[in-house]
Symmetry: C2
Subunit: 191 residues, 2 copies
Amino acid sequence: MPSVDRLAMIKRFYRKYNRLPSYSEMLRLFHFASKKAVHLVVHKWIEEGLLKIDSNKITPTLRFFGLPLFGMIKAGFPILAEEDRQYLTLDEYLINDPNSSFLLKVSGDSMINAGIFDGDVVVVEQKREPVPGDIVLAEIDREWTLKIYKKDRRHRLAYLEAANPKYPPFYPTQELKIHGVIGGVVRKLAN
Amino acid sequence: MPSVDRLAMIKRFYRKYNRLPSYSEMLRLFHFASKKAVHLVVHKWIEEGLLKIDSNKITPTLRFFGLPLFGMIKAGFPILAEEDRQYLTLDEYLINDPNSSFLLKVSGDSMINAGIFDGDVVVVEQKREPVPGDIVLAEIDREWTLKIYKKDRRHRLAYLEAANPKYPPFYPTQELKIHGVIGGVVRKLAN
DNA sequence: CAGTATAGTAAACAAATGTTTACTTTGTCA
DNA sequence: TGACAAAGTAAACATTTGTTTACTATACTG
C-alpha cells in the first residue's frame, strides 16, 4: 500500500469528520499493528509540510486541505514546483467575516452584466458599509433585491441600479434599507 | 461574558488552527478555573447542534463552521427559522473531488459571456470527462487557454469556442489536449 | 548474496484528554 | 428576603493521547 493512498485516506477522514484521526484510529485505517508505524508516517507528513504540530497537537496545514492556486499566463501554463505553490481554501478566500456573513442563492437576470447569473450564490456581508458601486442586498420599499448601490450626485440620495440595460434605475419612494454588501460570487457549473 | 462571545472565540480558534480547542485550552480562553465549567458550555453547544461527539471526540458540525444558505424569492426575503436553515461550505459546494482539482486565476475577457471575468478563480477538475458545452482548461497547439469545448457536427472533431463574440472559434492545427473541466467559478468583489 | 537502511511489531511511558463528584458562588424572580 | 436554579470551583477519575525503547521483518542496493 503506497503512502499516497494513506494520505488520501486521512484526507477523506478529515473532510468527513472535520478533524484528523488519532494514532489509534489511523492504526485501524492503515491496518497497522503498532503505533510506532503510525508515528513514522505522520512525522513524514510533518516533514513534508502537510501536517504540523502546535501545542503538542497534530494539525493539518493549508497544503493538506487546501487546493493549489495557479495563475494563467498568456503563453503556457505555469506548473509551479510543489514548494512554490500557493494553497487556498475557497472559504477563506471569499469570506472575510464568517460571523456576520451568509450565502444567498440569486434568482433573476438583473445582474448579468456584473457576472451574476440566475442560480449563482453570493456571499452577503452584513457588517460592511456600502459605498457607491458596491453590489448590495437591499430592501427597497419592502421588496428584497440584489442591485448596485448608487448615490445621486445632486441630492446625495441613495438609489439602486441593475446590471442589465433592460431595467431602469430604482428610486425608493418610501425606504431603502441595505442589508449587506456582496463580497463574493460563486457559480457551480453543470454536474 | 455572554456565551455568544465564547462561541465566536472558539470559531476563531477553529479557523486559525483547524481544530477545536481542548478543554484545557478553552479553560484558558474563557478564563475559567474548572474544567466542569467548560464541560457545561461545550455540552450546551452539543445540545444546540453546533458540536457533536463521535468516537468520544468532540467535533464541529456544519452549523458550526458553515454559512447559512438562503434562497431569494421575488416578494420578500425568506428568513428561515434556525432549525430549517441549510448550512454550507463553499469548498464542499464547489469542489467535487479535492484530490484531483486545482484552482486557476483567469486572465482575459474571452469568457465574459459565460460570466467568467478577468481575475476570477475557477475550479479545474482534472479527472472529469469533457462533454460538448463544458468550459475546459485546454492546450491548443501548445497554448493554454480557457474555452468552451465543442464538437464539429459533421467531422466529429473537437474545437474550442470563446464566450465572447469578438473571438472566432479555435480549430486545432496540430493537437488539442483537455487538461480539465471547469466545475465552478469564484469571484471576489472589491475589498 | 551479504550488508544495510527502511518499515513494522510489541510493550511501556508520561502527559493530556474529557468526565464526574461534591461543594460553593452567583443571579433571578416571586 | 428567601428560595431555587444556573454557573462555577476544586479535585479525583479512568481513558486515551502521542512518544519512546528495544527488537524484528522486509526490501533495496552494490
